[in-house]
């Protein structure tokens, strides 16, 4: 197991190098001139002399491979440069806002798992009966609902109409309920459907038939023989949802005035603040890669069969 984890960590290095290379190449293929943007945002008139000086200061006059290596070297040392706008180190700004976003995203992930498992189980256990119908109805709505619209509907219902929950800001659990639900509903619906299908599939397997033949009670059959095998696809899907949940958090927090990195990123996009965007992209991608690694390790832990084949693939 330890060997598996170390091997996977080593395999992360080429992935992250590739990601950084793509970010760097895209940054230089872009139609903008970073020096021009830098001058504009620093409110220096873009004369030829100023441009040349800015290019030199930003290292844009060096050959591209050298620029990449310098940039990578700095990034490895967590130096992502200064924001064109605030003039502060980019990483400090992002790390200031990021925890709030991670709190939302993490709770949404938890909510996804906590809600989808009982829903999927109920739907499969009572297939075709009312619990199944209810779950199918919820998940049918859930996969088509734009998360930002759901957020407004929740605000209208719980804040405007019923007056139960605060519409914005960060504080106690009452502030978390609506944004987390808005972010999680889609992934929750997909997971519940997936678990239902997977349970119905495993239910027909021979080992389940055999377990029943041995006279095990229904509860044990479901817990140890059906669920234990059926939730593996759920683990894989959860890994794929993490990116979506993170993206959802970025959009939803702008609605609830949640002090996360989403609004900061949107203003960076609008201002073309490249150092911020590049650090933001690299940081969140690295985060996602690490989350997926954790998911894979969980998978290997839950299902010993993948420990070896996964590494070989």
């Amino acid at each position: 197991m330890l060997r598996y984890i170390i091997l996977r960590l080593v395999l992360l290095i080429p992935v992250l190098l590739g990601v950084s290379l793509i970010v760097f190449v895209l940054l230089h293929l872009g139609n903008g001139d970073p020096a021009l943007d830098y001058l504009r945002l620093s409110q220096i008139p873009p004369t030829d002399a100023a441009l040349a000086e800015a290019r030199h200061a930003l290292g844009l006059d060096r050959p591209l491979p050298e620029q990449y290596l310098t940039w990578l070297w700095n990034a490895v040392h967590l130096d992502f440069g200064m924001s064109y706008i605030t003039g502060r180190p980019v990483l400090d700004d992002i790390l200031y806002y990021l925890p709030a976003t991670l709190q939302l995203g993490g709770l949404a992930l938890l909510a996804t798992l906590v809600m989808s498992i009982p829903l999927g189980l109920a739907a499969a256990r009572w297939k075709g009966r009312w619990p199944d119908q209810v779950v199918r109805f919820i998940t049918f709505i859930g996969v088509s609902m734009p998360n930002f619209w759901l957020a407004f509907l929740l605000i209208a219902l719980f804040s405007l109409w019923l007056g139960w929950l605060p519409p914005m800001g960060r504080g106690g659990p009452q502030h978390l309920l609506m944004p987390v639900l808005a972010i999680a509903l889609m992934s929750m619906s997909i997971n519940a459907r997936l678990l239902r299908a997977s349970l119905l599939d495993v239910r027909e397997h021979r080992h389940v038939f055999y377990a029943r033949a041995r006279g095990l009670n229904e509860k044990r059959v479901w817990r140890d023989h059906i669920l234990r095998n059926a939730w593996m696809p759920l683990v894989t899907a959860t890994g794929m949802h993490i990116g979506e949940l993170l993206g959802g958090a970025l959009v939803i927090e702008t609605i609830f005035a949640w002090p996360g990195v989403g609004r900061f990123a949107v203003s960076a996009v609008l201002n073309r603040d490249f150092p911020v965007m590049q650090c933001f992209t690299l940081l969140l991608t690295t985060l996602l890669v690490l989350c997926n690694l954790v998911v894979d390790i969980c998978y290997a832990w839950l299902d010993p069969r993948t420990r070896f084949s996964g590494v070989m693939a």
């Binding site: 293929l29 872009g30 119908q133 109805f137 734009p146 407004f152 979506e244 996009v269």
Partner: protein, 281 residues
Amino acid sequence: MSTLAAVYTGKKNGARIGYALVALLLLMALFGPWLAPYDATLVSLDDRLLPASASHWLGTDHLGRDVLSRLIVGTQLSLGSVVLVLGLVLVLGVVIGGIAGIVGGKVDMFLMRLCDMFLTFPTLVLAFFLIALLGTGLTNVIIAIALSHWAWYARMVRGMVLAQRNRDYVLASRLAGASRLTRLRQHVMPNVVGQLLVLASMDIGHMMLHVSGLSFLGLGVSPPTPEWGVMINDAKEFIWTQPQLLLWPGLMIFISVMAFNLLGDALRDRLDPSVLAEIKE
């Protein structure tokens, strides 16, 4: 809300409702400006924030523009942008995945590693980054979303090409002396494209959510133009006084996504199950 009944009335009706809704949306997209009762961008400050009435069925917004007209005319951009995203993604997917599958070897290795890299990014974060590079605006949002979605399609196309290449009928045509190009054009590609369209139809709803999300954040269309995402963004300041302004455009996005999901499910059910199993490989 009758569409929701589709869940209960079985697959066939769900498919019918999906087809009907998509047809209706297409009509609205094509003939929107003629169907709309008012000019969708006509500002009339005297008629600000009117409630629903016989002359304005859904009322007016904060600039006195007719909400119903804006919804109808907005269909064109909201739907059109998704169709463009889909088109771009399919072209990129077929070209890159096709080359990888057909040429094989080192080219295949390189292209698939490139796909892996693109698949590593969180979709929305990559889209943000690309919009920062390209600048805001609907065209750039379309390009950004297409560039953050293509890799998945390229991988699928490659998988399909590889699976098709060893099918009996392709081998038979090879025995019959058909050239490589003929085999590709006549036997491999038609099958790949058919399967791909079905898979894409299941993904349209998802893409629509991404496009409208970015548009809602104000990165897409600029305000006077009617588009559903931007209408919600426009209306969000009025949530306390005029919540219905947020309701309608969101409902349009919701219904469209639902329609595409129903359509996708219907098409998938008509697809040979063995094909789906093959793609998953």
